[in-house]
Symmetry: C2
Subunit: 113 residues, 2 copies
């Protein structure tokens, strides 16, 4: 069993084109013994965003702090703490922080991407 | 894309032997389009607990509210909001709420269990 505080895990800047003021921590990864899927925690500062992109793997997301918007088929949909999001493979998506507080969410990906 | 509030999803009582005052919501499941892993949210009332058990699949957990203890190899380890836990297959585990506030965590399982 591995127990940790998420804040202890190294924060990596998200450097994909279009990303702004966003870090990611890979809190459950291969080195923890995970074989099927991995857990990351994203933190987006006010005025920050993740890249607008799509890819062949799904996301399973739980927002636990802050407020923002999620681009869904070109529309901006509000999301906040307590939202759950399933993004299927190949669907375009982007998170933006629309508040003055850091937006934080858990985002899981399959290990075979 | 599926966006929901976790509180909208049906709360099912956890009825396994040894479970007490605990509900689970399957917030991302097969009917949402998930193929590789599923997201559940557990809520344990004060004095409640999940069953002490083990099984052939792993858990990936993020605690987002409250305080409790986690049984790890017979010892009680404190956990609280902000803890991440990886429980490998076949390892015994149990969550107990040791506070006066509801303990809440996200817990993911592989679809092939």
């Amino acid at each position: 069993m591995v127990i940790k505080r998420y804040g202890e895990v190294e924060a990596l800047p998200v450097t994909d084109a279009g990303a702004l003021k966003t870090i990611v921590r890979w809190v459950i990864a291969e080195e923890d013994g995970a074989k099927n899927f991995y857990m990351r925690i994203f933190e987006i500062e006010p005025e920050g965003c993740t890249p607008l992109h799509h890819h062949a793997w799904e996301h399973e997301i739980f927002v636990f702090q802050g407020k923002g918007t999620l681009i869904q088929q070109g529309r901006e949909v509000p999301v906040c703490s307590g939202n759950v999001v399933f993004i299927p493979p190949h669907e375009e998506h982007q998170f933006k922080n629309s508040s003055t507080e850091t937006l934080k969410f858990v985002c899981l990906v399959p290990s075979q991407k």
